[in-house]
């Protein structure tokens, strides 16, 4: 069977006044249908750049993306994106935001009634039917992100791209949404690429965790297969030695092998190194 999504040897350079800046170097990744893959790495390592290339918002300088054997050019609804800051149109209600996507994708294939049902079905999936007629500024951050997910799911994407979807939320809301996402994932069996810098989130949700090296010229460092049976329960897993082991592996990669060297003053730097070493050993 051919690979569902083939990210093949992509590199990207951005022009800067000081000459080209190579953000990614030779990133390759093959993703199967229904797989949930997380990209993790320090900020600035180019995780978002990978996602934007897959989404078609950036063009890779070298290499390319194959989706079901066809090369990807430019953005499109079959690679729906859940943005970090929900990116709902503030002048439209939740319903209208999803409707905009549904109309665009299914205008020719669904009747008005079917489109309405499909919009409501997707709002139902994220438990947002009660706020269908509310505008983004009338609902909470977590609810906005839910609508953002509903909008993306409503496009029936081959690949769902999530750019730190829960990064801007508080811990409780985030846990709640992670559970919702796992439930939806169980039902729909979407192929998902998610960017995160939350180690627990990555281990809890993913089939594979792709750990990226620090930029510039960032690339895939290690890939970790998470062999935990689904459905996963965060409380039960917290004590599971396998879970702890996966978590430790990711932390070791992030804080020992790819420790971020930042230009901070010497005093705070040594403190920080000590702290991160502690975390890594935990």
């Amino acid at each position: 069977m051919a690979t569902h999504l083939d990210i093949s040897h992509i590199s990207i350079e951005f022009p800067t006044p000081k000459g080209p800046f190579k953000a990614l170097d030779n990133v390759s990744l093959k993703i199967e249908k229904g797989e949930f893959v997380s990209l993790i790495g320090h900020s600035g390592c180019g995780k978002s750049t990978v996602l934007n290339i897959v989404a078609g918002l950036y063009d890779a300088t070298e290499g390319g993306i194959l989706l079901d054997g066809r090369e990807v050019k430019g953005p499109g609804p079959e690679r729906a994106v859940v943005f970090q800051n929900h990116s709902l149109l503030p002048w439209l209600t939740s319903y209208q935001n999803v409707e905009l996507a549904v109309k665009q994708v299914f205008r020719k294939t669904k009747s008005k009634k079917e489109m309405h049902d499909w919009i409501m079905h997707n709002l139902e999936l994220v438990h947002m039917t009660h706020a269908a007629d509310k505008r983004p500024d009338e609902i909470s951050g977590g609810m906005k992100q839910r609508v953002g997910i509903a909008r993306a799911l409503a496009m029936e994407p081959s690949v769902l791209l999530m750019d730190e979807p829960f990064g801007a939320l508080d811990a409780l809301t985030r846990a709640h949404l992670q559970d919702s996402l796992m439930e939806i994932q169980k039902d729909l069996n979407n192929t998902v690429i998610m960017i995160t810098h939350d180690v627990d989130e990555a281990v809890l949700l993913s089939d594979r965790i792709v750990m990226m090296t620090n930029g510039p010229e960032a690339t895939v460092g290690e890939i970790l297969h998470v062999d935990l049976e689904r459905p996963r329960d965060r409380l039960a897993l917290a004590k599971d030695p396998r879970y702890v082991d996966y978590r430790t592996q990711v932390l070791t990669f992030l804080y020992e092998k790819q420790r971020k060297v930042e230009p901070i003053q010497a005093a705070t730097k040594s403190k920080k190194t000590a702290a991160s070493a502690k975390v890594a050993n935990a």
């Binding site: 918002l57 430019g74 953005p75 609804p77 994106v81 149109l89 503030p90 505008r135 500024d137």
Partner: protein, 322 residues
């Protein structure tokens, strides 16, 4: 006990509101009128004392009376004509009479009306040009680069510089035996349009260019068509700046119109002021002052109307508009 307390605090709130909302403005106006009266009595011109509030009030009344007299005269004029035509038709059934327009002197209120529809026509035309052009410029950097120098050069041009050119062009190109609009109306209108379109154009372009990048990405991922993109994403996010531009434009339009009417002797409030100045009677300064206040008041009303439209159109009802 508790209801009493809340009642008291509610009373407090109402009284602070009426203090700030009504008493303070009234106080400000009273102080202004007092200073005006005191100051005016000290300024002497060849046409007598500078008009104080009392004189202005008297002149206002006389202008109203003049208007009413003129209306009565006009009515009588038409009644007389109709009677005459009826008489002749009674003698000779084949006679077809023509009603002639009343050609009496336009009153202060006629002039206000003329100015108002001229400014609205000029401003409307300017908006019809400026908003679509602004959207194009904001969407496309190449269009922006091409048009920016032209915009920057024409933006600061005073209406008085345009006026002779517009007058000549209108007289040369608008030749018709039965004109729908008078030439003076067209001259004033085009001058207003040329001068007032720039704030709308520039603010619309800036608003359109400043659409959030995330929303643009949404549009790209959805592969929205150009029209949907503009209608659903670009225009709603540019509306606040668009209205800032429209309000600036309307303010400029009103100022420009008065100046243009004065200079070109086109009917309107500007001509009223100029005529009174040329007339030079002892009433003139008072009447000009009435016109000055009226111009200010109408300008204020026009801005309020725009603000109301903005409130109605804007999606963000929580936004504080002033």
């Amino acid at each position: 006990m508790i209801p009493n307390v809340t009642m008291a605090s509610l009373k407090d709130k109402i009284s602070t509101f009426s203090f700030k909302g009504i008493l303070l403005p009234v106080f400000g106006i009273l102080v202004f009128i007092l200073l005006w009266q005191v100051g005016a009595s000290r300024v002497h011109t060849s046409l007598g004392e500078f008009p104080g509030p009392v004189v202005v009030y008297e002149q206002w009344n006389s202008l109203v009376a003049e208007h009413q007299r003129e209306r009565v005269k006009e009515d009588k004029f038409y009644v007389r004509q109709e009677e005459r035509i009826a008489e002749r038709q009674a003698k000779d059934p084949s006679y077809v009479g023509t009603l002639r327009d009343y050609t009496g002197k336009p009153t202060f209120f006629d002039q206000i009306f003329t100015s108002l529809y001229t400014v609205l026509a000029g401003f409307g035309l300017a908006s019809l040009i400026a908003i679509p052009l602004g959207i194009l410029i904001g969407l496309n950097r190449s269009v922006y680069s091409a048009l920016n120098p032209v915009i920057q050069i024409f933006k600061p041009v005073s209406p008085l510089a345009w006026l002779p050119l517009v007058t000549m062009v209108v007289s040369a190109s608008y030749v018709s035996d039965d004109p729908l609009f008078s030439k003076s109306f067209l001259t004033s209108m085009f001058t207003v349009t040329l001068c007032c379109m720039w704030p709308t154009l520039i603010n619309t372009a800036v608003g359109v260019a400043a659409v959030e990048k995330d929303l643009l990405n949404v549009s790209k991922v959805l592969r929205l068509g150009w029209m949907t993109h503009v209608m659903k994403i670009v225009i709603p996010s540019a509306i606040p700046l668009m209205f800032t531009g429209l309000r600036l434009s309307l303010g400029i339009a009103w100022m420009v119109l008065i100046a243009a009417e004065m200079l070109a002797q086109n009917p309107g409030l500007g001509k009223f002021v100029w005529d009174e100045f040329q007339n030079g009677s002892s009433n003139s300064l008072g009447r000009i002052m009435v016109a000055v206040l009226m111009i200010g008041f109408i300008g204020y009303l026009l801005d309020r109307v725009m603000l109301t439209i903005q409130r109605f159109v804007s999606w963000d009802k929580t936004q504080v508009l002033r």
